[in-house]
Amino acid sequence: MANSTSDAAFVEFERVQKSYDGVNLVVKDLNLSMPKGEFLTMLGPSGSGKTTCLMMLAGFETATHGDIRLDGVSINNIPPHKRGIGMVFQNYALFPHMTVAENLSFPLEVRKIGKSEREEKVMRALGMVQMQDFAGRRPTQLSGGQQQRIALSRALVFEPELVLMDEPLGALDKQLRETLQFEITNLAHELGITTVYVTHDQTEALTMSDRVAVFDDGRIQQLAPPDQLYEEPENSFVAQFIGENNTLEGVVKEIKGGVALVQLDNGDLIDAKPVNVTEAGQRTRVSIRPERVEMDPTRLQEGAHTLKAEVLEFIYMGDIFRTRLRVAGKDDFVIKTRNAPDQVRLKPGQQIEIGWLAEDCRALDA
């Protein structure tokens, strides 16, 4: 391909819209640009339009509006079989009437590759997923994890530059999922392929991706590397969806020196970093990560606001302690503390005082 500099857009969605029924937009104004070699994950709740986006990229659905470009070329009118995009389906879609080797050989046969070269490529692709010994088996004779590996190597055997995966690990148990997550990212980086990965599992998205696109309601809510997504959510949907989060609702009293003073609905005052609020009087939903809550007010800044809290539950989880508190009239406020030798173990019924650094508490849209 002509374009190989790593930061030029390899896959581009420009103002893409999609409607199945002519009434509802399933994808609303999607803009996305991916450089070559990137591992991008589309993360979002079920029904948010992730599969639809993938299918438009693969050519099985046509965009109602907008342009999709691959390596600078608009692919709206290229049929799926000419796009050369590798694809891993959620249910694997291994052809049940063919053996594993025949399944892998299929994309090479339709490309009219000679027999000896075909066999060599099939064995190499099976080698990538350590499945050489299973070449003669039928897909039904394999376990879920093995089928997944075969589906992966089938999508890679014809050396596509772009691979799409639609919840490929959805049907597997946790341990296997973790092993395969690791294998897939390794393989993708080793081969330098560009990957669009779809999942509704946020841990998967955070651990595997270079960047994550959080989908909701047919829009990308935030597109960022995992750490930024977790630490700097841009709106309350992302803050809620990624990781565990405490939210408190209130009204902005004032914004001064990069700090917003928020009055909670029960009258208490807190400090927060204004993210989606610009002026006093706006309603806001503030979000704070459980591990960023401070129980020792002496470690806070001079004059920082604190809140009274009552301990409801203390859960010992090994590496961390998870404590549930009643704060500002809500009893689902959670804090997490590291299991260190000097760490206090709170007891239910105990009254404590909590606070946080203003920049750890984000004032988002209501």
């Binding site: 799926p80 079989h81 995009i85 694809m87 389906f89 052809f95 049940p96 299929f106 339709v110 014809f158």
Partner: protein
Amino acid sequence: MSDITADGPVLAADGTPLKRSLARAMRRQKLRALMLVAPLLIFVLLTFIFPIVNMLSRSVQNDIVVNTLPETVRALGSWDASSGQLPDEAVYAAFTRDMAVAIEAKKHTRLGGRLNYEKTGFSSMFRQSGRKMKKLDPVADAPFKDKLIDIHKGWGDVETWKVLQTHSGIFTSGYFLNAIDAQKTPDGVAWQPEEKQILLKLFGRTLIMSLIITGSCIMLGYPVAWLLANSTARTANLLLILVLLPFWTSLLVRTSAWKVMLQQNGVINEVLVWIGLVPDADRLILINNQFGTIVAMTHILLPFMILPMYSVMQTIPPSYLRAAKSLGATNWTAFWRVYFPQSVPGIGAGSILVFILSIGYYITPEIVGGTKGVFISNRIAYHISSSLNWGLAAALGTILLVVVLLLYWAYDKIVGIDNVKLG
């Protein structure tokens, strides 16, 4: 799997072998299951299995000769047919006694009818002799040999007695031989005379036409089933109703409708003449031949092909086709290499259904088949209701059954019956 471990059989908690206690536990369950199906089982047994077995047994049953002429059969036992001599007086006397009883019970004409299948002339011979032999006294009027030959010269023919002797067994292969255009003569098995050989041809025609009908059903049904399986639930339901629509009208009405369509003065011919494709004097003969039978039966049996195909295709997820295309296959390759092989079980199920149904079809060939388009079943019906040769009808039926079972077996060997899915 073996139930024997290194230490002997696997034991249940109470020390009995596991297999035995499992069997005991299962027995009650089985008994209850049996009781649930018992009413249906009895019904099927009484109304289906029993009549069929009874019917099939007629194909070899031949007790009418022994039952009607018991003494004659015994006396004929010692007669050497190959000597060329007529049997002696003892046989004629026994025959007269038997006939006296038979005439009294009016059973002699039936015997004549039965033997007429083997040799023409017996029916009238028994009827005529019966009338005259009524006047003979089985004791006082002895000897009978010359008197009988006087009554009908057939009794002076060695052939007559040979036929009687040949067919005096309780069981006969005669009907089966008849069914394949052969006959059992006193000199062994021989072909029927040329002009009477029609049954083998009819069997062949039935098989070939059934194959053609099955083939046309596959060709016409496959795209429809595909469409059904690949449209939205609402469209699929609507289409399914259209497919099943023929079942809402009686078979007779549908077949008669084809008659209206295909006649020489029928709709199709009229249209063809009107647009000038066919000259008026040269109208196409579309009915009362094999063409008519094939067209009408394909139409009538089509749903039996579409439904199994549809239910198999429904289970093939669309992601297979998508996967094939994403791997670089064109629409046609994706269909032929990936979709079609998976739909074969549906074709198999539909084909078996249609073929077996058509091989025994009766009404449609009867109405639109004329003479050239009739099936073996029409011949069976003829023998049951017109010629009253039930033995031959039963033999033909048995052969039909065996042929179907053989084909089924062959299909199992080639395709594997496990590959047949009805849903």
